[in-house]
Symmetry: C2
Amino acid sequence: MQFELTDEFFERLQLAIDSKDEAFIESQLKELYPPDIAEIFNKLELEQVKFLYNYLEEQIAADVLVELEEDVREEILSSLTSKEIAEQLDNMDSDDAADVIAELPDKVQDEVLAQLEDSEQASDIVDLLNYDENTAGGLMAKELIRVHVSKTSIECVREIREQADEVENIYAIYVVDDDEKLLGLLPLKKLVISPTRSKVADIYDSKVISVKTNASAEEVANVMDKYNLVVLPVVDVLGRLVGKITIDDVVDVRREEETEDVQKMGAMEALEEPYMNTSFGQMIKKRAGWLVLLFLGETLTATAMSFFEDQITKAVILALFIPLIIASGGNSGSQASTLVIRALALGEITVRDWMKIVKKEFYTGLVIGLILGLIGFLRIALWAYFVDDYGPHWYLIGFTVGFSLVGVVLWGTLMGSLLPLFLKRFGLDPAVSSAPFVATLVDVTGLVIYFSFSMFFLKGILL
Amino acid sequence: MQFELTDEFFERLQLAIDSKDEAFIESQLKELYPPDIAEIFNKLELEQVKFLYNYLEEQIAADVLVELEEDVREEILSSLTSKEIAEQLDNMDSDDAADVIAELPDKVQDEVLAQLEDSEQASDIVDLLNYDENTAGGLMAKELIRVHVSKTSIECVREIREQADEVENIYAIYVVDDDEKLLGLLPLKKLVISPTRSKVADIYDSKVISVKTNASAEEVANVMDKYNLVVLPVVDVLGRLVGKITIDDVVDVRREEETEDVQKMGAMEALEEPYMNTSFGQMIKKRAGWLVLLFLGETLTATAMSFFEDQITKAVILALFIPLIIASGGNSGSQASTLVIRALALGEITVRDWMKIVKKEFYTGLVIGLILGLIGFLRIALWAYFVDDYGPHWYLIGFTVGFSLVGVVLWGTLMGSLLPLFLKRFGLDPAVSSAPFVATLVDVTGLVIYFSFSMFFLKGILL
């Protein structure tokens, strides 16, 4: 079953490292999968990692290296000679090897490439390094089994046998013509059940989905998602087969995208590295920008409030409910914007549905506003009776707060749902319409709504 | 390549339906993949869908049915007899068939099950319906190729050939013992390259990762993610092989989880259906609860403010900056909580790292607080000079606002980062520490901080 890294095991392992207990170390490492070993390495001291590293088989060592956190991998690599790094890269898939080599300093990159024993791997890596990492070309690996459409199934088996070491998992064989153009694919299952003398031309599947090297990572993820693909062939502008993308690479792309979205929705720029690895300078840079912007937007509330200074002077009691009113607008707006951002990201809605969304949100905002308005009125009634002295006109204050809540919640909900649609419409990322962004937009309006209702209900009485 | 549903094509297709242009319809449907057809069906009128449905081959029709949005599928199914539904289910994988049948009314379920021609499929479906949908058992399909460890590779090929119709994609063959216990797996690639007389016992891989039927969907997703698996065998408590989960099912699980997290972070309960399909009643229910709770929390600000009514009466100018101060606390808190919630969800941090996180957030909050405090002071200085009359003691008001901002931002950041850790520590979902939730918690404290600084700077002068 799966491995779970317990404290007991971790301590036992450190003890074994300290006492150089080879028997224990070797027996344990043999039981574990590369991701488990990487998980352990991520938590050990560099010296301990280096010590354990020597006990790993070549292939396992390469797999572990790929799975490690970037900073741990960097430390290990910087302690290896370029020849040792090259040996590791020879054991990796070309896409992983290219990713690892891209992290090295330029000078070391050249040295390592020159030391690679497998010249095909070297040329594959150089080729892959040319692609932008956020495109299909940057995601793909070069390892795949291709056969010419004129071959027979027995020749396919021979081809697989020859390349078995190169290509770890094989789900399908790609069928190409004289110009290396992708014609279709032959699922391994079909190969297995076909008579050995079958012609590829007769048994391959010409309905094949592929992407171009310059397709964006997001597009790749969407295509694999939609068609439930485990592997996706990549072709160049001429339709020639150049590589394949496997689903595990796309899972990472999706996760990064989601993280970026979530962070933007938290009113900040997306971090480039995991939270713990983000430097202090980066942290300030990514966070302060939006906070300053929101702060400047929010200073408008001070300006707005100065228009109502007179009203507050006459009825200080009005000031008490300001935070309550504007928070309610912000909260309802943040619900609406979150829902719309997520539904857009999932493709459940498009900008064109805006009228339907506005209608839905209008009624939702109205009902929720009425609920909060009623509670607000009751709160004031109860306090007027039992706690505070809101004066003889408490019910007018109650009306002011109650009606303001209806207005503010309705307005917040509408703004919250329209803002992401508006951003999307103009080619911007809807995820930036974060809860704080919406709240800031709604705050000034909330104040205006509140003081308008107070004039309506209290003019000539308190005002 | 991939299909894109353009307006032109959609209109052309509707025209073809209206004029019953069979040639066009058949030629187009043949070119499309089931997910494309489902995408089109989701947008057509029910009558049009029913018309097109008749032109689909049996297997394609079943695949399309699985890909449809739930409400469209429901409509189609309700227009079919139980015999017709049963025919569709016979062509589905057992997990999809179980999902579809689970959506039907109880009475129809029994009728359909009785009509299934494939009795193995019927028993598989009944079996799958017993599992909770959020467990490995609920996710798995029963279709898989299993061989006894004593067989030879040629017998494996025979087994695959027999079941080829049942199992759409085959990546590996599962090896079991006399008791049907899972011993390991034989990748299809290995089968292809091994001599035909090889014994399974000699070539299979005994290192295999599996999950129990009662493992949670989240656990399944984590395991497949960590070990980069495309398919994961499921065993019962006795270790007997009962099914397999493929990665596309897990992609859906992940997406649902992310959506739930995002919605909770937007200060609401997670919706059970896509945004557009959520009924008005559900919408209010999922959203009003949190808003009422936050509103009640926020009423504390009114209570807190009543303690400072005297100060506001003496210096109404203090009221002007209240929204600005409390919004800044909320915004910085929402950044911190978003970062921590996401890092927890990704496993980048655990509750144990709390000291490191607090340290990181303390310094970040302090620096950002100083930046905003300085801007706040400058804002007041500029307005005092050019715009408003803040009186001769404007610089003391500037100090009050500036220092309050440092305090409020620092406090907001610390609360925002600690709240999700706290929730997680006590077994609650950290994602509920939404921006509005954090803001509400911080608002009262923000007021206290603000009025404390105002007493410190302005006592004996304005107060």
